[in-house]
Amino acid sequence: MLFPTIQFGVFFLIVFVGSWALRSRHTAHKWFLIAASYYFYGCWDWRFTALLAFCSVSNYLGGRWLAATEHPGRRKAILLVGLLANGGVLGFFKYYGFFVSSALNVFAAMGWRPNVTLLEVVLPVGISFFTFQGISYFVDVYRRQLEASKSLADILLYISFFPQLVAGPIVRASTFLPQLQKPPDPNTIEGSRALTLIMGGLIKKTVVANYIGTELVDPFFQSPSDYSGPDSLFAIYGWAVQVYCDFSAYSDIAIGVAELLGYRFPHNFNQPYRASSLREYWRRWHISLSTWLRDYIYYPLGGSRAGRLRTYVNLYLVFLFGGLWHGADWTFVMWGLVHGTGLCVERFVRRRMPAREWPRWTYIIGLLATFHFVCVARIFFRSPSFDIALQCFRSLGAWSEPLTMATPFVVVLVVVGLGIHFIPPKWSEAAQTAFGRMPLVAQGAALGLFLVLLSVMAPEGVAPFIYFQF
């Protein structure tokens, strides 16, 4: 069930009415949301609701076990079991084929061809997100930053809550579980913020991302060698806009939907393409993943406090992991390594030339350099193989041919997708305030007209969100 569909609209209206109707019966309210979330997930494949329940129950039991154990050695052992359980689920479902086939290829290169029957493993949607949430809960309990939940319903709801279930944001247990201690307040819904986020997300996904995908990016990446240098550059810019509009749309809609149900999610994007350095970019892009990698991998590895060389190694390891998290393919590993290298180089340069000594105009240089670096790395992210990625790079060098893919409509979409990064945050706050000042009926009419307008402009059908595959 995809957000920008009538099916989801009907589902949400039922959940909205049902959950608020049950507000005074807190436990029933939570179980209602759990049932709705499992239904939502089951729409993809009912078999994996059992996996979702397994992850939730095992994290709940692990948390209780940790809470009942004081001995440091035993606590570490329990932590290890918890990490292996969560990581094992993710590893098996997501990386089995990748690692086994890669190993067999290595063996084959060495002249050994073992007779191995490969299992057929289906990738459950959203598995990378809900296993990361489980790990964050488990580790936070181990670190005593969070009290182990006594309520199984709370953990079931935390792991499965449908707005963020399949593509984030990766909500921390420390953010969400405290919200489950009492029923949501029916008088403090930030409705104008929620509705403007949902409307913005819908238009980013259904119009900007979808049309750029079908009219520009998909044809290019199918056969990059057929396109000229200007076309290639334009398609790569288009891909940058498409992936931002697609993924941030999901996050925005998730945040808005959760808000309407009385729950607060953290922001996941903050105009990432206005970053003037890679470090800043990662503070603006997929914030919930960046901070997760920082808190659960980078810091435990020693972060930047274990010496210069070790800091560089840690950065590489984090981005290697980040690349693999996105997909079980060597192209994602390469994407992670490119970013790791970029951050190391940037860190090296900044140590010698602190940013405060740089003139203001270097912001523009930094912005352009960061954006283009991100675009180049994303070629690996989007290409189904290294061969296609290399074709992209070769096509980028063919500047004797003209630009043919830049239809006025697609140009407008790309410009809009980039332009929204430079809108002052005050403007969106002002838009929310202006929307909130209208009479309620006018707000409803505006929302209804917006949805009709969306159906006028949207392509037939809706492609799945790009991050569903992760």
Binding site: E190, P384, F409, A430, G436, L440, G444, V456, G461
Partner: protein, 333 residues
């Protein structure tokens, strides 16, 4: 610094907003809701959705309230030069143009060794690729690229995700294929579809549940009619079988669908049934996710066990391409 005041709403206020918004959508785009309902899988959910949306759409249509939406969409699509509504699931809700007369399958006849067809004119060979999502990416895009790279061949591809022959109310392939073949003369049509057809057939007020004798008779008739349409209007028809599927039950169903198209091809000298399992399956032509090619393990099937990966699409495309080049003998430039 002055900060903007974020308004806090009560549930009642949000309910009013959502209620008014829903009413506006129903008022101005009830046809969109009805189209969504008719696109649902046959079953109680669809019946309820249609029972609610059809009368509303009828009343709203009679009142002329749908017109602004339709005019705006028409204008928008023409202004931005997007064909067929763009996107993934193209729904063209038109009644089928072909008569529905379930007929029993005919007796087996041998598949001709040589593919017959009209004489090939002295111009680049024109190939039309049509089908469902299997022709949409993977196989479709790779085959299109290969053919386009041949100087003596031209290609056009039209793929519609989730389409097939059981639900002309969702997408009418007879209508579209007929239109495409009338628009231009082709030397060959390559088609792959049927994977979305494991569902009931509803026609002239009767519903044939999948798996019943009536269903097989009705589907065999459609399969035969469609192959006939492609072979008679499209020069030569190449029907690519659905590849072996991972799920045993689904595989059994698609195998039966393949058999009906194979039967349809047998009856037309200019139609050829192509068993894709020989290229994308294991040694026995059965499902496999991985194939060893040039000493390397390649994943050829997507995680759903139905679609092809890019590598799988390339493998199948290269085989089909070789076959087309051999049969069509494209002229050198």
């Amino acid at each position: 610094m002055e900060s903007t005041q974020v308004r806090r709403y009560t549930v009642r206020e949000v309910t009013i907003i959502l209620g008014v918004a829903s009413a506006v959508v129903v008022l101005l785009d009830a046809a969109g809701l009805r189209d969504w309902a008719s696109g649902l899988e046959l079953g109680p959910e669809r019946q309820v959705a249609l029972a609610i949306t059809e009368p509303i759409a009828a009343i709203q249509g009679r009142a002329g309230l749908q017109r602004p939406h339709d005019l705006a969409r028409e204008w928008f699509l023409s202004a931005v030069h997007i064909e067929h509504g763009g996107g993934w699931d193209t729904q063209e809700l038109q009644s089928p143009v072909w008569a529905e007369e379930p007929a029993a399958p005919t007796a087996d006849s041998a598949q001709p060794e040589e593919l017959a067809g009209p004489p090939l004119p002295p111009r680049p060979r024109r190939v039309l690729l049509i089908g469902d999502s299997l022709m949409g990416w993977g196989l479709g895009t790779s085959l299109e690229r290969l053919i386009a790279q041949h100087p003596g061949m031209e290609v056009k591809r039209h793929a519609v995700v989730s389409s097939g022959l059981t639900r002309p109310d969702f997408f009418d392939w007879f209508d579209l294929a007929s239109g495409l073949l009338d628009e231009q003369e082709y030397d060959a049509v390559v088609c792959i579809m049927g994977g979305n057809d494991i569902q009931a057939i509803s026609t002239e007020g009767r519903v044939y549940r999948h798996g019943t004798d009536e269903w097989y008779r009705a589907y065999a008739h459609r399969a035969r009619s469609f192959v006939t349409l492609l072979a008679s209007k499209g020069g030569r028809a190449y029907w690519l079988s659905l590849p072996p599927m991972r799920d045993k039950r689904f595989h059994e169903n698609t195998r039966r669908i393949n058999a009906m198209f194979e039967e349809g091809c047998r009856q037309r000298p200019s139609a050829k049934y192509v068993d894709t399992g020989q290229w994308i399956g294991n040694e026995d032509g059965e499902y496999t996710s991985y194939l060893v090619l040039e000493g390397r393990q390649r994943q050829v099937r997507a995680s759903d066990g139905i679609h092809l990966t890019t590598a799988g699409g390339e493998i199948l495309a290269s085989r089909v391409y070789d076959m087309l080049v051999k049969d069509l003998e494209p002229p050198s430039p």
